[in-house]
């Protein structure tokens, strides 16, 4: 069968599972007064449509920042504005100022889900296809299999189409950035990544590798000659993109500051909810949240993040090739996730973008998904994804050994542990003394995995073990 038909079948399967997941509940469904992320996105459409630009990020009588105030960069706001225009055409009640708070209806849900699908098809899916086509080693069958696995990754599907968010936009743009760099189109890559950054500030997790890679590449080309011009062009692209995105906010110096204040809420404390990062896990043993002052917390998280990100970035700076770049992306996002301030579960999606064993990350989102009533899609998609990726992996590695021996025992142990934990989280009642037992256990288990991953991937990147001849050559 021709390639185009296989790829289109993958896309169709990916789209079908996305839309099928969207039938289920969303975050905060039927839970006044605050509802959830779904209501937040609807509210941003309401705010951006009805209020002038200079009021979007400020606390005014018309804009109560305590009720899901905008806390993403301007590009999200513009996206919400465009959606709001469409919403207004379909049913003005959806974006009525104040009156539409907590609006929930079947047709509105369809509209919101459709907006996610639209941006997914526009941005994320083409990026995935191009990535698999150009940057995957192996036969065309392996490329198709990779595309299928990526498109069926449950984490992104459930967060975007279940819980409700637009991660596919920012991840898709970041992926376009990676594609650009991979194809040697540095300017296009920088442009795409800057746009991703202006969509969600979480992309900062990936920014250091981008920076180090480009800088390293320019240094290699000679800082006095071509390299300097290249650097200048890249910097100009980035600055102009930033300027264009932030243009409405540049008229008044208070504006950008307020936006930044909203984007980086250092007032909120080291963490919220039960996240699989260091602070949350550490908190189980030592109550650091109350023990240390906020300034110390900030400093500590900053220092540790930097510490963990430095080796990987320096290595990339010295050896700017694509393989290093990919590993650095993983390490950088893991470092940020594990150690930085105010991390949410969904941030792990950024690390997941390029990793192969994504299952752990997905599992760490279990408590959130159960809260949203997405247990059934969680079970189905994770089982399907696990089975599919293992099946394809075993087939395409052409090994004659049974699948069981191919993976080290701790892989299976982790899987069993995660399965058991999923089961107990849902079916058993936690003891009265520790009502949050299961979410915390999930977080700790995932954290230990992530810690293991970050050490492993750092070692891989820094030591560069003997790579097989079939792998891609340095560019």
């Amino acid at each position: 069968m021709e390639n185009w038909s296989l790829f289109s079948l993958c896309v169709l399967l990916g789209l079908t599972s996305r839309w099928a997941v969207s039938f289920h509940s969303y975050s905060g469904a039927g839970k006044p007064p605050m509802f959830g992320d779904y209501e937040a996105q609807r509210h941003w459409q309401e705010v951006t449509y009805n209020l002038p630009v200079h009021e979007w990020y400020f606390n005014t009588t018309n804009n109560d920042l305590n009720y899901w105030g905008l806390d993403y960069p301007p590009l999200t706001a513009y996206h919400s504005l465009v959606c709001a225009y469409v919403a207004k055409l379909l049913n003005p009640e959806w974006v009525e100022l104040h009156a539409s708070r907590g609006y929930e209806s079947h047709s509105h849900k369809l509209f919101m889900r459709a907006t996610v699908l639209f941006t997914d098809i526009l941005i994320y899916i083409p990026a995935v296809l191009l990535y698999c086509f150009y940057f995957c080693d192996g036969s065309s069958k392996q490329k198709v299999a990779t595309a299928l696995c990526i498109l069926l990754y449950p984490g992104l599907i459930l967060i975007d189409y279940g819980h409700f968010q637009y991660n596919s936009v920012s991840l898709g743009l970041a992926l376009w950035g990676i594609l650009g760099l991979g194809l040697g189109w540095d300017l296009f890559g920088s442009l795409a990544f800057t746009l991703a950054l202006n969509y969600k500030q979480m992309e900062l997790y990936h920014s250091l590798p981008f920076f180090c890679y480009l800088l390293g590449k320019c240094i290699k080309q000679g800082l006095t000659g071509r390299g300097f011009f290249q650097l200048a062009k890249i910097s100009l692209t980035v600055l102009v993109t930033f300027a264009l995105c932030w243009m409405p906010f540049l008229s008044d110096p208070k504006q950008p500051l307020q936006v930044l204040h909203r984007l980086f809420p250092f007032g909120r404390g080291l963490f919220e909810d039960k996240v699989a990062n260091t602070w949350c896990s550490l908190n189980v043993l030592i109550k650091i949240k109350t023990l240390l002052s906020r300034e110390t917390q900030l400093f500590l998280s900053f220092a540790l993040t930097l510490l963990f990100i430095l080796p990987s970035s320096l290595k990339l700076l010295s050896k700017p090739n694509l393989w290093q770049f990919k590993l650095a992306l993983v390490n950088s996002s893991l470092a940020f996730f594990l150690f930085s301030f105010q991390v949410h579960e969904k941030s792990i999606l950024l690390a997941a973008l390029l990793m192969f064993f994504l299952f752990v990350f997905f599992h760490s989102m279990l408590p959130l998904l159960v809260k949203d009533g997405l247990l059934l899609p969680y079970v189905v998609t994770s089982l399907a994804f696990l089975f599919l990726s293992l099946y394809l992996l075993s087939h395409l590695t052409r090994t004659n050994e049974p699948l069981f021996w191919y993976f080290p025992f701790h892989f299976w142990f982790s899987l069993v542990a995660m399965a058991v934990l999923s089961f107990t989280s849902v079916w058993l009642e936690p003891p009265a003394k520790f009502p949050d037992l299961f979410p915390v256990l999930v977080s700790i288990l995932s954290f230990l995995h992530f810690l293991g991953f970050i050490i492993y991937f750092n070692l891989v990147q820094l030591m560069e073990p003997q790579r097989k001849k079939s792998q891609k050559k340095t560019n």
């Binding site: 169709l12 789209l15 839309w19 099928a20 039938f23 369809l110 059934l376 599919l388 004659n400 049974p402």
Partner: protein, 524 residues
């Protein structure tokens, strides 16, 4: 490079598991009144003694399947009591708690295991299974065409029915005939008839085939009948099998003297010529012609508008209607037409049987013939022709061609079943998935010998795209949506009826002109 021997069949399980996962994701999708129908049957078989099953009428959805299916529901109802006891109360009309939905959906998904087994058996019956790589093997293609059949997924797991389970029994029966295990095949078919009597449509094919190829143990060298080789033993055994199955199923009700009541429930001829959504059969074309003539007649003052019956034939309800210009059609007329349409095929396999494949072809023609000319046919019945045809499609070029036309048009004609906005992307995506796969895989399988579809056929199929755009997107935004709400349905039926008729004619031609290959007829 061939896959390692240990992985030889693993792709089958991968496909089966994959489609099961997809079905699980569709648990929350729209379900039609058929969901309530089956819930009601669970309730009445659980709460009432068997003597009252065919009399119970609290709900409008009375039991209209044969007794074996009622026993099947009875068995399910015991498992249902673990999920939600409230669904088993007959008075709880339209009860649809999350546990109820979960149970019913899961029961369909689990019952599909029968279908999986049947597909596996069918793959074993293929003549040759060579292929350069997995995706080009006929058994792989057949598995996908059956397991991932668009119509089956849509009708069973969204609309809600148990067709997967039933078609599993049918395909298993066919596979057994291919494997020369005729007694099992006959037994399975009798069981099938007692599960859902719509399969009576294809009973003639079974009857003639078994009589000709099984009861007459040998044929002459030129393929004609050898009267002396008649085996009474085989005939009697077959008869016993069939009769005992029927007696197990209907026996209790005959003993209670309820047979007339049961039959009246099973064959409700009060319903109209066309089902609510106009299956794309001959009568759809007939109705359109009648409408056209009546409009033209009024326009040219040949008819008196007051004498015409009210134009409500195109509403969405199930009622009896009269035609205005052309003669009205009665159930008897449709029966005669159906019988006439399948008679040539039956004669053909009597005179020149082509083994099991000839039988299968005749079966498909019977199914399609009764779809085309039957009384109160539902569009879902097209699946009875499409699914068995898949077996032939992976073996012969001409059949692949007919299959493509029939399956794409037949599947498209199922669209009106899912009319909700939420299911719109799903039905389009799944149809595209199935269509692209069937087109490309069959094209690759038969790439020697030019294009599979000629330009006219390709244009017709492509014409479905603008049809869908008009009916689903453009028309609802026009003024006519209020005055003629039935028009998209009518257009869909008529357009698809053309494709189905064309496939029927081609199938007949292929049956009547197929080379006898007398050397291949084995004596049994």
């Amino acid at each position: 490079m061939a896959a390692p021997m240990t992985n030889d069949q693993s792709w089958f399980y991968a496909l089966a598991l994959g489609v099961s996962f997809l079905k699980c994701l569709l648990i929350n999708a729209y379900h039609s009144t058929d969901f309530e129908v089956h819930r009601n049957w669970l309730a009445l078989t659980h709460s009432l003694p068997a003597a009252q099953w065919y009399y119970e009428a609290t709900s409008e959805w009375t039991l209209d399947y044969p007794p074996l299916f009622a026993w099947f529901e009875y068995g399910l109802s015991h498992i249902a009591s673990f999920f939600d006891k409230e669904m088993l109360v007959v008075q709880n009309l339209n009860y649809a708690s999350p546990a109820t939905i979960l149970f019913q959906r899961l029961s369909v998904i689990v019952a599909d295991v029968v279908f999986f087994y049947a597909v596996k058996e069918c793959c074993k019956c293929l003549r040759e299974d060579k292929g350069k790589y997995l995706l080009g093997k006929p058994s792989f293609i057949l598995t996908v065409l059956l397991l991932w059949n668009f119509g089956l997924i849509i009708v069973d797991h969204i609309h809600f029915q148990y067709n997967g389970f039933l078609f599993g029994v049918l395909l298993l029966s066919i596979a057994r005939h291919f494997q020369n295990r005729h007694f099992e095949g006959a037994l399975l078919f009798s069981i099938l008839l007692n599960l859902k009597h719509i399969y009576l449509y294809i009973a003639p094919a079974y009857g003639i085939y078994l009589l000709r190829c099984f009861c007459f143990t040998q044929s002459n060298a030129d393929g004609s009948l050898q009267w002396r080789s008649f085996s009474v033993v085989r005939l009697v055994t077959l008869g016993t099998i069939v009769l005992s199955t029927f007696s197990v199923s209907f026996g209790p009700f005959i003993a209670l003297g309820q047979l007339p009541q049961v039959l009246s429930r099973l064959f409700p001829f009060k319903r109209g010529l066309c089902h609510a959504y106009w299956a794309p059969n001959i009568w759809a074309l007939y109705n359109i012609a009648d409408k056209a003539f009546s409009i033209l007649g009024v326009k040219f003052k040949l008819l008196d508008i007051n004498k015409l019956p009210k134009a409500s034939m195109t509403g969405g309800l199930v009622q009896e209607f009269q035609h205005s210009v052309l003669p009205s059609v009665s159930p008897l007329a449709t029966l005669v037409c159906t019988v006439l349409s399948i008679l040539p095929a039956l004669f053909r396999i009597w005179h020149r049987p082509n083994g099991a494949r000839g039988f299968l072809r005749c079966l498909v023609i019977c199914a399609l013939g009764s779809f085309m000319f039957g009384w109160h046919v539902h569009e879902k019945a097209i699946l009875m022709a499409i699914l068995p045809l898949s077996l032939l499609a992976v073996e012969s070029r001409e059949d692949a061609r007919i299959f493509l036309i029939l399956s794409i048009t037949g599947h498209y004609s199922l669209f009106p079943l899912l009319f909700t906005t939420q299911e719109l992307p799903i039905k389009i995506l799944l149809l595209l998935l199935f269509t692209i796969f069937s087109l490309t895989s069959l094209k690759t399988l038969f790439r020697k010998g030019g294009a599979l579809l000629n330009p006219l056929e390709a244009t017709y199929l492509l014409g479905l795209i603008p049809l869908e755009l008009i009916c689903e997107f453009v028309y609802p935004l026009t003024v006519w949506q209020k005055t003629f709400p039935f028009l998209p349905l009518m257009l869909t039926s008529v357009y698809c009826a053309l494709g189905v008729t064309y496939a029927f004619i081609r199938l007949y031609i292929s049956l009547l002109t197929c080379s006898d290959s007398t050397k291949k007829i084995k004596t049994q």
